[in-house]
């Protein structure tokens, strides 16, 4: 009898909560209408800077007492887009969300507000808006820019007697790798590379990107509109995969990101990894001194094209939901402008977020960590080229190319068959 009573109490309590929460959302909607208090719901994907970003929203709220910003973070590429769809379909649409590039732009077109007139869009660096523009209008504001290459352990390369400044072609990189391999015992490393084929975004998006970039002139929209892919630099791509796979910790097909970066590279068990400046906070969390002084990044050489350059691009864009009230949209835009173009915001972006800024008006030494610094310097010297992988057919890079690379490195698929598979998959997807 007693348990029954308790049960019914719990039940009625939960019902009451349901009723209350129903009231809550209704009153919220009502108050935004009167333009007194504005609530902006942000749904974003970058887990690494969640805390810093929430602190930034607090700083903005402190200045605008009528604004309340709620941040929800769901991590990872694929999971984010699934979660975003679920969010929209549930009717609980966010006011600000992220889009990844041209194909997201197509998918979400009906929901995107025109951001051409924002200060941020006017101040964006050349080439950073092309992945989020349609018919001359800007629908997304870049988070930041990121670049990748071959990250190396300074101390190990020095011990092996390798001059890193001289590595500016694929052949020289190969030579350095062979030197390292021959001195494995003395250096105390397991292998030269850790090549994480389990992470299909590393192989399928980043590795492939460098070699498809010249095919599409480094233009993501060209890739997006292309009906075919031809593996114009296929031999160079194969050479790069072979090099990383041959001199990697084995088996590569099951090697994942955390093994690569945390377990093997950060602890000095491998000398080189193919990664970008986004690994800096992770390495920083393991060994601060190593992250600040012990690592450098080499260019990502595409044989026969640019051998001393870094692929650099915009990983994600901010979008504002056009179906929301004018007040909300205006506040959302104002927040993004404040974040990227005000002095206070700029300070947060470079110091707290540790971003390589995608906007003008930042001092060149705003980036402190070594990887971002090298890439920013390369960008200023014109030694970067654009990312095209956001223009691949959806799922092609990871589920097709990346998956087949796993079979290729484990000897289950020949390179020629892989090329044929991927050409067909691309053409099928773009029919």
């Amino acid at each position: 009898m007693k348990t029954k009573k308790v049960l019914s109490l719990i039940l009625s309590a939960s019902l009451a909560v349901g009723i209350l929460s129903g009231c809550g959302s209704a009153s919220k909607a009502a108050s935004t209408g009167t333009a007194k208090k504005v609530t902006v719901n942000i749904f974003q994907f970058k887990v690494e800077f969640k805390d810093a970003f929430e602190a930034a929203t607090k700083a903005y709220e402190a200045k605008h007492s009528n604004v309340k910003i709620n941040v929800t973070t769901v991590g990872g590429g694929e999971d984010y887009s699934a979660a975003l769809k679920a969010k929209f379909n549930s009717g609980d649409e966010p006011d600000v969300f992220n889009i990844g590039g041209p194909s997201d732009l197509q998918t979400w077109k009906a929901k995107l507000a025109d951001l051409t007139d924002t200060n941020s869009a006017k101040n964006a660096l050349d080439g950073t808006l092309q992945g989020a523009s349609l018919d001359g209008k800007v629908y997304g504001l870049p988070y930041n820019v990121e670049g990748y290459g071959i990250i190396y352990n300074k101390e190990l390369l020095k011990k092996a007697g390798i001059d890193t400044t001289s590595i500016n072609t694929f052949d020289k990189l190969t030579e350095a790798v062979k030197t390292l391999d021959s001195k494995k015992k003395e250096l105390g490393i397991q292998a030269v590379f850790a090549f994480p084929c389990k992470e299909t975004w590393v192989t399928g998006l980043h590795t492939s990107n460098a070699f498809f970039s010249p095919e599409f002139d480094g233009d993501v929209m060209k890739a997006f509109n292309s009906k075919t892919v031809t593996f114009k630099y296929g031999d160079a791509l194969k050479a790069m995969i072979d090099l990383q796979n041959k001199y990697s910790v084995q088996p590569t097909a099951s090697l994942d990101y955390s093994s690569q970066v945390e377990k093997l590279f950060s602890t000095g068990k491998v000398a080189m990894i193919q990664q970008g400046n986004w690994v800096a906070p992770t390495i920083d969390g393991i060994d601060k001194d190593f992250a600040e002084n012990g690592i450098g990044i080499l260019p990502y050489p595409v044989k026969g094209y640019k051998e001393d350059c870094y692929p650099m691009g915009v990983p994600n864009y901010w979008a504002v939901n056009v179906t929301k009230s004018a007040d909300v949209q205006k506040t959302a835009k104002d927040f993004l402008d404040w974040l990227y173009t005000s002095d206070e915001g700029k300070k947060i972006v470079s110091e707290q977020f540790k971003f390589i800024p995608a906007y003008k008006g930042y001092s060149t030494d705003s980036v402190k960590e070594p990887l971002g610094k090298t890439i920013l310097a390369a960008a200023n010297a014109g030694k970067t080229y654009g990312w095209v992988f956001p223009g691949y057919p959806n799922g092609w890079g990871m589920d097709k190319f990346g998956a087949d690379v796993q079979l290729y490195v484990s000897g289950k698929l020949t390179w020629d068959k892989l090329v044929a598979n991927e050409e067909k998959a691309w053409a099928d997807a773009r029919k």
Binding site: A82, K85, C197, Q250, S254, G395, D399, S410
Partner: protein, 298 residues
């Protein structure tokens, strides 16, 4: 059924019937809104070109037609079927074995029951990551220290990926299956077993001729649960292999997920889900029908 009640027992049939339906309303409503309506809407979506965001257009059976040539999808079905076959055999032997063990008079049997059931309380995703560490790192270390090649390169080939999934799911589910067997084994009347012992039946004969027929209903339930579960494995697959190498260890659910969410073909994914539903329904109904016939009344 309502009519049966009316004719047989009630003096006030109308009122009784009303109460009958009144009490059913909550569960019928729940079933309707959470299962039946979404299911029908789902079938409708599989006939459209829905991408998950934008308004849809009815396109008929085009999604289903395109499945015929989808090698990856059929591979996933075959892989899942193979897995289901191995998994069902292993898990039922394991579950029954554990149940026989902990229904004996042995010290600490309650502790053992809890211990065997414990893995079932951990989420599949977390289990996958834990076992991923065991298969990749621990096994690799063992291989290096002992030189036994068998421990090398787990999860990097299709075969080890397959057995990896079998091992973790069997380890996870065995306790659950065990509980159901325990419930039935403990219901077997002691007189029957004692009588058999007096007649000189060996332990194996007791098991085969008395216990086994009497726990047949448990078998029906367990086969049904493990069968439908084995086709619906998702989180363990995602966190353990994610289809690697080369999508060869991809199960149906993961294939559907990738179609729907990473390739943005929501409607095509839905069509695949409908096919999966049909497969599971046909197999499960056939199986329940078949084992029901074998059950004996106590």
């Amino acid at each position: 059924m309502g009519r049966g009640v009316k004719m047989n027992r009630s003096k006030k049939p109308k009122k009784r019937e009303m109460w009958y339906w009144l009490f059913l309303i909550p569960s019928i409503a729940a079933l309707l809104f959470v299962v039946i309506i979404p299911f029908l809407v789902g079938i409708y979506y599989s006939l459209t070109n829905w991408d998950g965001v934008n308004p849809t257009k009815f396109i008929g059976f085009i999604n289903y037609k395109s499945l015929i040539g989808d090698q990856l999808f059929w591979n996933a079905i075959i892989f899942t079927a193979k897995y289901a076959f191995v998994f069902i055999i292993i898990i039922n032997i394991m579950g029954l074995g554990l149940a026989m063990l902990v229904t004996r008079v042995i010290p600490g049997k309650n502790l053992m029951r809890t211990a065997f059931y414990l893995p079932n309380l951990i989420g599949g995703l977390i289990l996958g990551f834990i076992w991923n560490f065991i298969f990749v790192d621990v096994f690799q270390t063992i291989a290096e220290k002992t030189g036994i090649a068998w421990f090398n390169g787990w999860l990097s080939t299709t075969n080890t990926g397959f057995w990896g999934i079998v091992i973790i799911t069997a380890w996870q589910m065995a306790g659950y299956v065990m509980i159901i067997y325990i419930a039935y084994i403990e219901n077997v009347p002691m007189e029957l077993i004692e009588a058999a012992q007096i007649d000189g039946a060996s332990p194996w004969q007791q098991f085969k001729n008395i216990i086994f027929p009497l726990i047949m209903p448990a078998f029906t339930i367990n086969l049904f649960i493990t069968l439908s579960n084995s086709f619906k494995i998702f989180d363990q697959n995602l966190s353990l292999t994610k289809g690697a190498p080369g999508n060869t260890t991809q199960m149906i659910t993961l294939n559907i997920y990738q179609t729907a969410f990473s390739q943005d073909h929501m409607a095509l994914g839905q069509a695949k889900a409908v096919i999966m539903f049909i497969i599971i329904a046909v197999i499960s109904i056939a199986q329940v029908y078949y084992t029901k016939n074998k059950e004996v009344e106590q």
